[in-house]
Structures are given as structure tokens and as C-alpha cells.
């Protein structure tokens, strides 16, 4: 059973009187298998958010159909085990963080002590415990993203649809969210996320699909897609200069050619995370 399946899913937005229609998504056949993390990639306006909204029946398809765990998306039941984080989430400004989670929990039919406990768990999980009694009007963008994530997880859904989950979140938070996604995967959840931060997607997705102007132009297993089978890189530490010449010679002797030799650079992100890790003051204060 696929977690999500779409057939010939097409969406044309009506632009209004005499302005015609905009083809946002064209004949998408998507399959997200149960238990995998699927990344929907693509430039701005390529139809990623539209796909997620179609799957949730927030917009009605012009053609084609979609299923969640084999239940047609047009049925309310299909959303019973789904958590959704919209892009740039925006909630009721006058509710506090805890009240927001309570509201969404009740909508999912939760109540009483179970709900209370779950709210505590989630506030802790997304690092908003200290901001729980503040109204969302005073939350920063990253904090809204976190409460959005908590809201999506409130009823412990089997499938998560995350629209740019790390947008607006600082590198630590972004790493936290990616770790969380991997943990969810470990628990057997299915995740469909959209993003255009390719480097981040690479670490967490099992499979990706690339959309461009509403069409799927590339799809496949991340590891096979990005690994270059003809090339091999070996990273060594503390190699003396004299030894290096011998290594290069040995390589050439086999008939292979050396494409590049140099010092690997650390990523700016790794550097940033390392610096923050060293700065003890920052520990546990990012809520």
C-alpha cells in the first residue's frame, strides 16, 4: 500500500475573468511508499505546494485523483492519519503556544490528560517549553515554524506532509528538524516534504522528485541519483608530502586518471554548528 498515490493529477488555477488559466501541475503520477522520506524539489512556482494542497483536498484537482493510504483524498477520513505543516505557517495570533496545540489536538478528537501530556511532550520536542504561555503574535518566524511542526504531530499521524519545514529556521533548528524527520522515519512514519534547499534534502530523503513548471522532470533514489559510479574519492589525514607523490604514481600505474587533488573544505554549516557547540552560553536557549 502506498502512503500517497496520485494519478494524472492536474491543477489549473483560474486567474479570474478573461485572464485565462494557469497550469500549476500537469499529469503528476506520484507514489510515496509507506515508511520512506520523499523530497519534492523544484524552483519557486514549480507546483510543490500545489501538490501538497491537492493531496489534502484543500484545492480541487482539475483532472486526475489522489489517494492517501488508498482512501480517496476527497474523503474526510483520508486525513485522519495525516499531519500537515503549511509553508510560512500562520496561526491564531491571540492564542498562546500551548493553547494552539490544545486547539488542534481537540480538533483531532483528543482530550483530557492524554492531550495535556502530548502537548508537554511536543513543546519539549520542538523546544518551545519556555515560550508556551506567550501569544503567537510575539513568536518569531522560526518559532512559528516549530509550533507548526508540533501542531502537525499532535495526533501522532502516520503520514506527514511538510511544506518547506526548515524555511526561516536557524541552522541549529534546521538540523534539529532534520534529525526529527529521521527519527520519525525510524518510528515507521512516512514523510513527504517539499524544499529547494538541496543540500539538506540530500541527507534525509530516501527518494526525491524534481518538479519544474508543474511537471516531474526527474525522480529516483537519492543515493543512486547523486553517486557518480565512475569516480571515487579517498580522504586521508596527515599524509606527508613525499608519500603523496607515491600515491598519485600508484594510481596512474593502474591506468586510472586523477581528476582533482586538494584539501576538502568544511561546509559553512558544519563550521557554524561547531562554533555554536563550543559557545556554551547558547545551550538550550533557542526557544
Amino acid at each position: 500500500m502506498d502512503a500517497i498515490r496520485t494519478e494524472q493529477l492536474t491543477k489549473k488555477y483560474d486567474l479570474g475573468w478573461r485572464k485565462g488559466k494557469l497550469l500549476a501541475l500537469e499529469k503528476l503520477n506520484l507514489r510515496v511508499r509507506e515508511g520512506e522520506v520523499y523530497g519534492l524539489l523544484g524552483p519557486n512556482g514549480s507546483g510543490k505546494s500545489t501538490t501538497l494542497k491537492l493531496v489534502l483536498d484543500l484545492v480541487v484537482p482539475t483532472e486526475g485523483s489522489a489517494w492517501i493510504f488508498d482512501v480517496p483524498c476527497s474523503k474526510v477520513v483520508s486525513r485522519l492519519h495525516v499531519g500537515f505543516l503549511p509553508e510560512n505557517p500562520y496561526f491564531y495570533r491571540y492564542l498562546t503556544g500551548a493553547e494552539t496545540l490544545e486547539f488542534y489536538g481537540k480538533l483531532c478528537g483528543m482530550r483530557g490528560a492524554t492531550l495535556k501530556k502530548r502537548i508537554e511532550e511536543l513543546l519539549d520536542l520542538v523546544g518551545l517549553t519556555r515560550a508556551r504561555h506567550r501569544r503567537l503574535a510575539g513568536y518569531s518566524k522560526g518559532m512559528l515554524q516549530r509550533i507548526g511542526l508540533a501542531q502537525a504531530l499532535i495526533h501522532d499521524p502516520k503520514l506527514l506532509l511538510l511544506d518547506e519545514p526548515t524555511a526561516g529556521v536557524d541552522p541549529i533548528g534546521s538540523k534539529d528538524i532534520r534529525d526529527l524527520i529521521l527519527r520519525l522515519k525510524g518510528m515507521g512514519k512516512t514523510v513527504l516534504l517539499s524544499s529547494h534547499l538541496l543540500a539538506q534534502v540530500q541527507d534525509i530523503c530516501d527518494r526525491i522528485g524534481v518538479l519544474n513548471r508543474g511537471q516531474m522532470i526527474l525522480e529516483g533514489d537519492v543515493q543512486t541519483l547523486i553517486s557518480d559510479q565512475r569516480r571515487l574519492s579517498i580522504t586521508v589525514q596527515d599524509l606527508p608530502e613525499a608519500a603523496r607523490a607515491r600515491v598519485e604514481e600508484a594510481v596512474r600505474a593502474t591506468g586510472a586518471s586523477i581528476v582533482s587533488v586538494g584539501h576538502p573544505q568544511t561546509t559553512l554549516e558544519a563550521l557554524f554548528l561547531e562554533a555554536l557547540r563550543k559557545d556554551q552560553r547558547r545551550e538550550g536557549e533557542h526557544d
Binding site: 500500500m1 488555477y13 483560474d14 509507506e34 494542497k53 489534502l56 483536498d57 484543500l58 484545492v59 480541487v60 493510504f69 488508498d70 482512501v71 474526510v76 477520513v77 486525513r79 485522519l80 492519519h81 495525516v82 499531519g83 500537515f84 503549511p86 510560512n88 505557517p89 500562520y90 496561526f91 491564531y92 491571540y94 492564542l95 486547539f103 488542534y104 481537540k106 480538533l107 483531532c108 478528537g109 507548526g148 501542531q151 495526533h155 501522532d156 502516520k158 506532509l161 518510528m187 515507521g188 512514519k189
Partner: protein
């Protein structure tokens, strides 16, 4: 998050029916939001100030004073509830769509009808709450007036003949019956039915328009036309087409029983029952119409 929660339940057998609980959760949330926004507190405050001011009108005879207070207070309550009904409902759906809060709600197993109904009920809760606040103050004003008048009366008859005492006692009793006037309750009930109806009209308009000004002005115009409907029908009743157009507008004039009450007429409960039935029936039809528009709408 336990492993058991992940074990796939067979989804084909699960159902999500209409849930009054979800409606009430959305309604309470809507009320909380409205109360915390404080805009309505302003309307309410204006109403409360006017009602409280009525205490200080002290000219005329006792009977006239009572009539004046009732007249003013019922008028103020009617205006403020109408305002709150229109302004409080006009932005409910558009702001949900604009802020995209609706996405997170409808992404949960929530029916669109539950959402619409929840929003509408939240608006009605706000109406009830503000009406209750104004009624409490209205009652307090009447009570203060009553006590004042009784004190004045008993003082003016001190040392007079027993016959005068009997006369004073009669007047006091009359004031007391004036204060405990069921007719007032009838007027308030009719008023609530009217406000509910106008709120539903606003809800319907806001399902297809996102402009706040439009959503306030159109229901207001519907209200005015509905108020004048009776009069217009008397004047141009001959034109059939005209009558057909008029029939679309709810007859808001029907709810204005405060005038009759002030003329000292007794409105039978049966009539109130008819008015309320008319209001509720019209409201239901309009809410269903709003649902039909809203369920087909792209959000």
C-alpha cells in the same frame, strides 16, 4: 509516540461523521479570538455607556421616565447587536483564508461544514455574550431607577393622610410592575432572532467576497431594505416583479416589536414564537446556502 500507534489500523473501516464537538471547539476558539481582539469590546463599551447614561435622565413624570429608559436601552441594544452581528461575522471567513489558518484546520479530519458552522456559532456566542452584558446593565439601570423613585415617593408622602399613603403604595406597585416588564424580554428575544438572521446574511456574503467593506455594506443594505419591506409593499404592492424581488430580502421589520411595546401594547407570546420561527427558518436556509457556496470554493 509508541510503536503501537504506528501499527496501521485498517483505514477502510474508519469513518468521520459530523461532529458537534469539533464545531464547538471551533466556535469557542472563534469567540476567544474575537474577545481578545478587543474591537468588539469597544462596541460593547459604547452600548454600555449609553445604557448607563439613561440613569441620569430625571425629568418628566415617573411613568415617562420609565418609558424613556426602556425606549433608549432597547434601542441601544438593538443597534449594538446589529453592529456586532455584521462586523463580527464579516471578517470571520476572509481572515481565515487570508491568514491561511484555514489550511491547518481543514488539513485535520474536519469537514468544511463543521468549520463554517463553528465560525457562525462563535459569532453567535459573541452576540449572546454582549447581549447578556448589556441586559445585565439594563436591569441594573432599571433597578437603580426603581429604588430612587420608590424612595422619592415614600418621602413625599411622609406625614400625609392615610388615603395618600394608599395612593403612594399604589404608585410604588405600579413602578414595580413597570420594571418587571415581560414585554422587555419579548423585545430582547425578537432582537436576538433578528441579530442571528443578519449574522447569517453576513456569513453568506462573506463566503463569496473577501472584501471587508463589501461584507459589511451589503448585509447592512439587506438589513435596510428588509426593514423598509413592509412599508414598500404597502406603497407599490401592485407590481408583481417588485414583490418577487422584495421576497428575497428577509422581513426585518417583523422583529421591531419594541415600538409596539413602547406604545403600551401587549405582544402575545404566540407572535414572538412566530417571529422566532421565521428568523430561525430563514437563518437555517441561509446557512445551508452559505455551505453550498463555501464547499465549492477554492481556498
Amino acid at each position: 509516540m509508541t510503536e503501537s500507534a504506528i501499527a496501521a489500523p485498517s483505514m477502510s473501516r474508519e469513518r468521520v461523521g459530523f461532529s458537534a464537538h469539533r464545531v464547538s471547539v471551533i466556535a469557542v476558539n472563534t469567540l476567544t479570538e474575537a474577545v481578545r481582539q478587543k474591537v468588539f469590546i469597544l462596541f460593547l463599551l459604547i452600548g454600555l455607556v449609553f445604557i448607563a447614561l439613561a440613569v441620569f435622565f430625571a425629568q418628566f413624570t415617573f411613568g415617562e421616565q420609565m418609558k424613556f429608559i426602556k425606549d433608549t436601552c432597547l434601542g441601544v441594544i438593538s443597534v449594538i447587536t446589529t453592529l456586532i452581528a455584521i462586523v463580527g461575522t464579516a471578517q470571520l471567513l476572509p481572515s481565515e483564508v487570508e491568514n491561511r489558518t484555514i489550511y491547518t484546520i481543514l488539513a485535520k479530519p474536519v469537514r468544511r461544514f463543521e468549520f463554517l458552522l463553528g465560525k457562525f456559532c462563535g459569532s453567535l456566542l459573541l452576540l449572546l455574550l454582549s447581549m447578556a452584558a448589556m441586559c445585565i446593565l439594563f436591569a441594573a439601570v432599571l433597578w437603580i431607577k426603581e429604588q430612587g423613585m420608590i424612595r422619592e415617593l415614600s418621602q413625599s408622602y411622609v406625614g400625609e393622610s392615610p388615603a395618600a399613603h394608599v395612593e403612594a403604595q399604589k404608585q410604588i406597585e405600579q413602578i414595580q410592575t413597570e420594571v418587571l416588564d415581560v414585554e422587555l424580554v419579548k423585545a430582547l428575544v425578537a432582537d436576538l432572532a433578528k441579530a442571528t438572521l443578519i449574522a447569517s446574511v453576513t456569513l453568506l456574503v462573506s463566503t463569496f467576497s473577501t472584501s471587508l467593506v463589501f461584507n459589511v455594506v451589503v448585509p447592512f443594505m439587506v438589513y435596510v431594505v428588509g426593514m423598509l419591506r413592509g412599508t414598500a409593499a404597502e406603497m407599490w404592492g401592485a407590481h408583481r416583479l417588485f414583490m418577487a424581488v422584495l421576497a428575497v430580502f428577509p422581513d426585518f421589520g417583523l422583529f421591531s416589536i419594541a415600538d409596539e411595546i413602547n406604545l403600551g401594547k401587549v405582544v402575545p407570546w404566540g407572535h414572538i414564537g412566530q417571529i422566532v420561527t421565521y428568523g430561525v427558518a430563514r437563518t437555517l436556509v441561509i446557512v445551508v446556502a452559505a455551505h453550498l457556496v463555501f464547499s465549492r470554493r477554492e481556498i
